[in-house]
Amino acid sequence: MTAVKIQIHEKIHHDAEIPTIENFSLTLNAGEFVCLVGQSGCGKTTLLNSIAGLDKNYSGEIQIGNQTQKSQIGYVFQQPCLLPWRTVRENIELVFANKNEILKVQIDFLLEFMNLTAYANAYPKQLSEGMKRRVSIIRAFAINPDLLLMDEPFVSLDTPMAREVRELLTQLWQKRPHTVLFVTHDLREAIALADRLIFLTARPMRVLEQVNVAIERNQRNAEFVEQFKRQLLEKHPQLQPLL
């Protein structure tokens, strides 16, 4: 399992006047499920890219797991980011470093679960946006990551599908605990999924408030989520603009 220590003093895009992220510090415990909630454009994607090592242009330090062993990261990007010239199955299998390590059974199960078995040999061009999105989720799940980054992963899925994938995510996570950092602007989704909610300010992004959701996931029905949301607002009125 992998803990993540994030300490960003400043992250500024080269053509911007105000920093995107400033004095940001956050620690994810190993195996913790954390949801980031904030307005769109506040810098959540920039943060995930920095954690994934895609954007190294910041002052500060991000520590993932222990130094000795490189942690496997699964990342569901905001766009599906599939290779158009490879089939669905090839796209998923390519993220395995070694051909012998490909988890065929796991991939078949995920394809079946996401109703994509019939499309395993199709090219991304033949898929709808929602299907591409599901493939990119399978790709991130398939490698059994130590750290799973998800950037609004359910936006182009229809409601029933989103609910099912959310349940699958919870199941997989309970079966094999790993650290999850999940970005969303849907507070209900965040309450249903997370161990801890992190509320973020607008640019420059900082941590505004942290709230633990200390109740078993299977007891978080719609009623509970509504109630939790109401209490949250009563206790933390400054969160109002975010919701």
Partner: protein, 246 residues
Amino acid sequence: MFLKKWYPTLSILAFLSLWQILVIYLHSTLLPSPFVVAKSVLTHWHSGELPHHLSITLWRLAQSFSISMFLGCTIGIALGLNEKLNAFFDNWLVIFLNIPALVTVILCYVWFGMSEAAAILAVVLNKVPNVIVTLREGTRALDKNLLGMAKCYGFSRFKTLRHVILPQLHPFLMSATRSGLALIWKIILMVELLGRSDGMGYQLHLFFQWFDIASILAYTVAFVTVIQAFEFLVLQPLDKLALRWR
């Protein structure tokens, strides 16, 4: 449509008839008819002269083409990926792009002697800058999101090249190949004309001195046919294979 299938054949027939009409109208020894040219092709072929010189030129083409593509792709991708490298070498590229082919050919012969190596080098020097420019543009247009995906999932360099970069560069590679073949064979003829004692360029030079227009056209027809065959038998199937996902 039924007719559409026959368009290529029809257009060639139209070209030949136009040629024949001109021959009848001009009635000059300087423009032989398609029939005479065809006969000339056969004569040169049976004498063994055409296959000999054609194969020599094609061999030079293959050598200089492979070297230019290899160098051009390597340098072009490197420049496309690295801003600083590109800023530094951009001026060099502009200089090499603008040196006339004739100048490189003459200088290579003067500096390195009238050798086969000098001939190939002259062709390569003319072609490499074009390949670099094409591949550099292609590399700059690479999808950053896909490269990010490859990096995040720890793709090796080779894997990134094979599965992420090369498929995106395919159209640019094909364009460099096609324009390259056309450019290289024109320069090769010049190289042969100026400093070799075999090959198509050398033969054309002889025919020019004898004013043997039929033979000149015969050699041209033979060469164009070979290049077209390459397009149909190699390049187009390659395109089809690489673009099956579209």
